[in-house]
């Protein structure tokens, strides 16, 4: 049997199957197990019998039967009569109605997996497993923890959902904005984890960026009118469009300004720009839309030299208002410098450096080094690159900073 096709089917269908079973079997854990059983049945039957014409309908039908068995086995049969009815009911002889009648409850699942009463680690793990259909092993590998640790994290999360009464429903209007924000935060964290590959070698990591984008697409499909959802998806697509251009053949990081822009994914850029336009036309932009807008300025520049840094600096100033963090301030400082006010930008970075808010953040000395380099102060730049290298987490990043420091020293020792 085609293993890749089966894995793809699993990842595509698992969440819908689980989501649709929760109410019937009385809990997320039981729903996951039931969906799992359906896929196991497929694995035993399809290799010899062949793939059914409509795999999704087959899985739904099988899962419904498994759910029925499960509920029947349970002692509180009486209380579950209604659920039994719905599970037994859809007399879907044909595959089309089987698929149509099975409810799409993924939105509820999304909010349960990202409930604020769960730790961030648990939310991420649950979302990847339940919504993206990754295996515990895959998630453990992606986050560089032992499989047993990840398995325990997932079990604990499911136990908390059950015991603490974390609901399986779309939250009330009053808390909905906060909850959507929580879902977006989980998605963005997964994306950033994949994008930065903050520890270890990039190549052994599972593609978390792809998974985050998939989550984003699901959200955009289920909540089509929310501009923060569109904004985040746009942001992820625009950043991810540079994927092939941002790492060199030796695994070293390539800065935005030095990337081969013909290697950017145009299709993804177009999709991101269109989503961003929709989001921006809907009202005052939030943090995700503004970050996407900044990425869009880069995406629109045919060459690095043509980048509209003044616009980027203005967007960062807006972003600093909705998200007043030192990292945003650092980026604003760089944009100000790139827009022509080099010394002013350097002063802003100096001030940030003195505040000590970012003292473990490699990007600060790296940015300072770049600006010093631009102003011809190579010796000072080399020292800042050294500082950045000591703080950098990933090997490609360290290699890159090493090269820059060496080049800065070479230039410093040469008479100009």
């Amino acid at each position: 049997m085609d293993v890749d096709a089966f894995t793809a089917l699993y990842r595509a269908e698992f969440s819908r199957l689980v989501a649709g079973l929760v109410s019937a079997v009385g809990g997320l854990q039981a729903a996951e197990e039931t969906a799992q059983e359906a896929f196991e049945a497929a694995l035993t039957q399809w290799p010899s019998a062949g793939w059914p014409p409509h795999p999704r309908a087959w899985l739904i039908r099988t899962a419904r039967h498994k759910a029925l068995d499960r509920v029947r086995r349970r002692a509180n049969f009486e209380g579950k009569r209604a659920e039994l009815q719905t599970m037994a009911e859809p007399p879907a002889d044909d595959d089309a109605s089987e698929e149509r009648l099975f409810p799409d409850e993924r939105l509820k699942l999304l909010f349960t997996c990202c409930h604020p009463a769960l730790s961030m680690e648990a939310r991420v793990a649950l979302s990847l497993r339940t919504l993206c259909g990754l295996t515990t092993e895959e998630i453990a590998r992606a986050f560089l923890v032992p499989v047993s640790t990840m398995a325990q994290r997932l079990v604990r999360a499911q136990q908390k959902i059950q015991t603490a009464g974390i609901p399986y429903r779309v939250p009330s209007e009053a808390v909905l904005p906060d909850r959507v924000e929580a879902v977006l935060a989980v998605t963005y964290l997964v994306f950033n984890e994949g994008y930065a590959a903050s520890s270890g070698e990039e190549r052994v990591r599972l593609d978390l960026c792809d998974q985050a984008i998939r989550l984003g697409r699901t959200m955009a499909e289920l909540m089509p009118r929310r501009r923060d959802v569109q904004g985040l998806l746009a942001l992820m697509l625009l950043h991810d469009s540079r994927r092939r251009a941002r790492v060199g053949p030796g695994g070293e990081a390539i800065l935005l300004g030095e990337q081969d822009r013909s290697r950017w994914d145009r299709k993804q850029i177009d999709e991101g720009l269109e989503l961003l336009e929709q989001a921006l036309s809907a009202g005052p932009p939030g943090a995700y839309e503004l970050q996407a807008a900044i990425a869009a300025v880069h995406a629109r520049a045919a060459t690095a030299a043509e980048t509209d840094w003044a616009q980027i600096a203005a967007l960062y100033a807006l972003l600093a208002r909705v998200q007043p963090t030192p990292v945003v301030e650092l980026n604003r400082a760089v944009a100000v410098a790139m827009a022509g006010a080099l010394e002013h930008g350097l002063q802003l970075i100096e001030a940030l450096d003195r505040s000590g808010d970012l003292k473990t953040y490699a990007a600060l000395p790296a940015a300072k080094a770049d600006l010093l380099w631009r102003s011809g102060r190579y010796r000072a730049a080399a020292a800042e690159y050294d500082r950045a290298r000591a703080l950098a987490a990933s090997t490609p990043e360290q290699r890159f900073l090493e090269r820059r420091a060496a080049e800065a020293r070479r230039r410093a020792s040469q008479p100009s």
Partner: protein
Amino acid sequence: MQYLLLIYRNEAEHAARSEAERAAVFAEYMALSKSLQAEGSLRGGQFLHPPSFTTTVRVRSGSVLATDGPFAETKEQLTGYFVVEAADLDEAMAIAARIPNARDGSIEIRPVQLAH
């Protein structure tokens, strides 16, 4: 489901408030109890005397050991509780958010383990 809502606040801060301010908080608590009662979710609740009146007891090798003060010295102390009936954690969280000391202290939500 039943939830125990443990109310924590900084007793020193509370004591430093004026009589009128403390009376206002108390009135708010009374109003909240009343509405929770009317909504049918209140199962119990009390204020507690401050930590300075607390005694902690342990039995070790058959001897009863008593010490003055709470088990753990923290900035915020347990000052009262509610027991509420709620459909799920979201409902319990919504009730917790209405407790006056949620604004300056914190509310810990513990699901009650009911005997079967």
